[in-house]
């Protein structure tokens, strides 16, 4: 069996999520190579957040399988979560604690060794070092998002899953986002976004969802024909059923 030289960082096979019989995500199959940057597109309710939720292990799939950074999703291995960084829809921060306390807590939780140095480095990068002792509650939405971004990468993950990361960010912060994540070499990124205008700046490919199913996929790497019997090449345009 010939191994593909390119490692696949995110691979899903017919990943499906049903709530009360209604399919929110429908048999999604994608193969994103290591180091690739993919934009996840689709209208509201198309299933982007749910798909990302399944990849972060927060939502359990109804059917299908996935592999992330070599780990099987179904095993729900703690070690797999060590390799994943998440920037979700909501910042998920403790309002009564300071940026430093928040970041230090998550750094400790995620087992970051050089905790203090890493927190200082990230807080300086996102512009929160001078305000590190103020409770998060007094910070603006933009700064919440910056702190959430810092938290997403505090443990140096190699797969980043982002849900509309540009929300609330000003120009300077968007540049930070690009530098730290979206254009950072070596990181595999799958980001749901509505900022179609920016896709050209960072995305190497796109996956478009409509009503839970993939209707367009320019990001997935097809399976090498020699490796399997059935051709699993994703076609560029699928019918939306």
């Amino acid at each position: 069996m010939s191994e593909s030289a390119i490692e696949i960082a995110i691979e899903t096979t017919a990943l499906t999520k049903r709530y009360a019989g209604l399919s929110v995500v429908r048999a999604v199959s994608i193969r994103l190579p290591q180091g690739s940057k993919t934009a996840l597109l689709g209208a509201n309710g198309a299933g982007k957040t749910t798909l990302l939720g399944m990849l972060t292990t927060l939502i359990t799939p109804s059917e299908g399988e996935a592999r992330i950074a070599g780990f099987r999703l179904a095993d729900n291995h703690a070690a797999m979560r060590r390799r994943i960084g998440v920037l979700a829809h909501s910042p998920m921060l403790y309002e009564e604690l300071t940026p430093l306390e928040n970041l230090a807590f998550f750094a400790r939780l995620y087992g970051v060794e050089d905790r203090e140095a890493r927190c200082e480095e990230l807080l300086r990068l996102v512009g929160l070092w001078l305000r590190r002792h103020e409770p998060v509650a007094v910070l603006s939405r933009g700064y919440h998002q910056r702190l959430a971004l810092a938290r997403a990468i505090v443990h140096r993950p190699d797969v980043l899953l982002l849900d509309e990361p540009e929300t609330g960010l000003d120009g300077e912060a968007v540049a930070l986002l690009d530098e730290l994540v979206l254009c950072a070499p070596g990181l595999t990124v799958l980001a749901a976004t509505h900022r179609h205008d920016r896709i050209g700046e960072w995305a190497g490919g796109t996956v478009v969802l409509e009503r839970g199913a993939v209707v367009e996929d320019t990001a997935s790497r097809p399976v090498e024909p020699a490796a399997t019997d059935e051709a699993a090449t994703p076609e560029p345009a699928w019918s939306a059923t």
Partner: protein
Amino acid sequence: MSAPGHAIDPPRRGPRDALSALLARVYALRWDVLPPLTGVAMMAMIVGALIVAPRELIEGELQRIMYIHVPSANAFYLAFFIVFVASLLLLWTRDMRWDAVARGAATVGVLFTGLTLATGAIWGKPIWGVWWTWDARLTSTLILFLIYSGYLLARSTSDVNDEQTARFSAVYAILGFLDIPIIIMSVRWWRTLHPQPIVFRGLERPAMPMEMFVVLLTGMAAILLLTLWFIVLRTEAERLAQRTESLRAAIDRREAP
């Protein structure tokens, strides 16, 4: 019916499938078997309890309540055991049909728990002059009544297809069932602090004459069949409610812009 929530597996033939086919065939016969069997058994129980069984010396005709009271207790233990197993299966298979079973069995269980408490009170009142005597068994039964009513209450805060609430409720039902022996033991010890004469005299097996015992057994069988029949009815009703709700949601979704 929607397929169970497993990852896709190739179908396996073998003893497991033969067993489920057999179970399916037995289950299909339920409307032919359960009603007539239950009817006959209930008739036998009523005749036995009112006519055949001898009159008890001390408590008189009132004691005949035992033939409902004792089997009702068995009924709710069976029902709660089914809730326990269904809850475990729900957590394991993530198949919402087990949630319907759990809810059906819990409803029936609460019904029979209530019946046990009521018949216990009716039995006790003429003898003791009070409706409630803090008897160890009745007190434990009351606690179980509260636990499983709590289960139904918690489950009903969300709609019948809500998987997350179903899981929570299943966990609660499992905890409740595992708590039962501890509850019974602790309440019994609690009551030994203030020992009371035994109200329900007729329950002492060694002292029971043969006729009473036979009628009691008939009653057990009858109520057990009745319980099973009710559970099947309720489970199917719950299952239909799930399917109705999911159809309704599908229609809503289609009609939404």
